[in-house]
Symmetry: none
DNA sequence: GTCTAATCGAGACGGTACGTCTCGTCTTCAC
DNA sequence: GTGAAGACGAGACGTACCGTCTCGATTAGAC
């Protein structure tokens, strides 16, 4: 979240309802207006809250949108679907369906763009959004290694590198397909993607 | 470029030098300020040009930055390096080195973000930036098919789908590695990436 | 006025109509809202002008109101009414009728209050408002000296001191009567005031 | 004062020290910041008091400043100096020395300005500040009539009118000299003023 | 060599959002 | 029930850019 528990014991406590209202209003505004036309004054109005209240909790548009979008990724899960291929297809479809929602589309790339010049923002994105996805990759790999579908990783450093690589390949492909190419990451595409990821380009029929 | 030569025969012709100066100034401003702090008034001042002159040629910040960033991708080439793996490694390294430049980092994601709500902008990006990269993918695949490294594609529709998939996987992975994970797409990473792309996850030593 | 002819030859010239509209809108807002509820945003809206335009010409509320109120004092005149007493009564009544207008009442004291901490503002008030009244005092005295109603002033320094004193007594009495005591400076009061001023307290009846 | 002792028997009684601290803090803030930059939050902090406490006692900035400034006028006295002229000179010098203090300069005119649109405030100023001065005028006149320096006033209505007139002339002149003309009401000026007030303009030299 | 029309620079214009400030009220806990 | 602390809704502040406009001053090609 945005507050780092400033340890103030006295005074009126901050309204928890306001936080939720502001984040919901932010997502609604993203859907209606998109990132570039979203204004904090409008978000405050939608949330039935004063601008002051908003600025007391978030430093600016970017931080607010990160938190608002991050909540969308709460629903990502990795149930055991029986095989590595099924696990990948399942999580990629989930991920794609989140990226398909307009509140994610317009906001996500914008904060990533800004994070290239703002390390605090990049860290916030990592903690709120990226790590959540990364955990699924590690979990899926461990499960596949249990099943014997993937070889075990003896070296922890190498393991981290490979985990990063897989994550960049999976997330990058879905994001690029959805937001840059502008085409849907539907079941057919996901199947093709999973096959190439697992068996390589040369294996194509 | 941006002008469609409105067929005006008479009057003072537009200064060609101004175009170049504006695009260069835009890149310089991107480096110094990043996307969000870049203002057209400042670009005009840097270029030694009036705001009017700038607006006569570009409709707004997004269009201008697309053109300014697109020029960076002119240097992408695909010399024959002898094998598919070498070709991929070469072009990915080139691509990564472009994405590493600050004028690309801050601008590229921002215009992509905006393009999720602006079809004209998406089309402009596709024409100026994406197609240029896509062509390399198609060219590389054709070359690999000649070498017998990849099977031929009899069905044109299927061929297009596969081309799209490869492109999203390559470009997506590099972009995600560079801009989201914030780590360098260096030679070691590129080698690992190429191996997985060609032979699949399961093939890991 | 507010501009000191910045001698800019180039660029779009400032709209003269905007100046007049802003000052008129300021007076209208003073009448409706009074000093403390007057906002520059509202003045700009009333004048059909952007806030920017207003701030380009005036530094703030105080300066703007000084100029808006100063125009009210343009109508002050000193026709020869035949005697010093008649001249004083005439000009005091004029002055009182200006101070009776709501746009002057609410604004004048406020800028004077602020001027006690802002020398530039005090100077602006002096130049725009006070000097205009002072001139009438000097003119009236000179006329009375021609008529032989007042003794001539041989010493220029002493003359300036006496002029200041008379001015403070006349203007101060009218202002205090109108704005502090809150009672009208009507003909009866003006006659009494003039008698005391000319012949002294002890002369009553 | 501001509270009307609402006869609450129970609970913690209001701190009397808080009142004094708030008024002193208000004067200190007037000296440092002047009227326009004085904020109630700042006054509360200076007084070591919560904003709530302040608002429980005063309705707003204007009322608070009236009370804070009014205390300055407590020191006004009219000892018998032997003659009307000496009495006037004495009280005018006292009055001028109060007006010379920055906490009075910046606050007094501001509340007068606001009082032109707020009858309750005008009444408060009259009761707290103006009447205190008015009483001195009436007392001085009575004393002068006892001495035979001024003729007696048979008609009470006429007496009130004349008292008002003298008051407006004395207070108005000092205020105008000090706050509008911005020059000191020093002994020399006070002597000249007293002479003109007592014997009239025509009597000079 | 004009003429002519679109260009150029400069900068003011009406807007809109910004992020900050102060207002006066409300809510909590401690005394 | 009062006090300090501080969050709250409200709304003005003055600034920054936006994209458009109005200027006077070039500038090239058409005549």
């Amino acid at each position: 979240m945005q507050s780092r528990t400033p340890a103030s014991r006295t005074g009126r406590p901050r309204s928890a309802a306001a936080d939720a209202a502001i984040l919901a209003a932010t997502r609604a505004a993203l859907v209606e207006l998109g990132w570039s036309k979203l204004t904090l004054g409008d978000v405050a109005t939608r949330a039935g809250v004063a601008k002051t209240t908003l600025y007391r909790r978030w430093a600016g548009k970017h931080e607010l949108v990160v938190d608002a979008v991050a909540e969308l990724f709460d629903e990502l899960e990795l149930p055991d679907r029986g095989s590595l291929a099924a696990d990948i297809e399942g999580v990629v479809l989930q991920f794609a369906s989140i990226l398909d929602r307009p509140e994610a589309r317009s906001g996500l790339m914008a904060v990533v763009a800004e994070s290239t010049r703002d390390d605090a923002l990049r860290e916030r994105i990592r903690a709120s959004i990226v790590d959540r996805q990364m955990r699924l990759v590690l979990e899926g790999r461990a499960r596949a290694q249990c099943r014997g579908e993937l070889p075990p990783e003896p070296d922890p450093a190498e393991s981290a590198r490979t985990g990063d690589l897989i994550f960049d390949m999976v997330a990058g492909a879905v994001v690029h397909r959805t937001l840059v190419s502008g085409k849907p990451a539907d079941e057919e595409w996901v199947r093709s993607f999973t096959r190439v990821l697992l068996t390589g380009l040369a294996s194509q029929q």
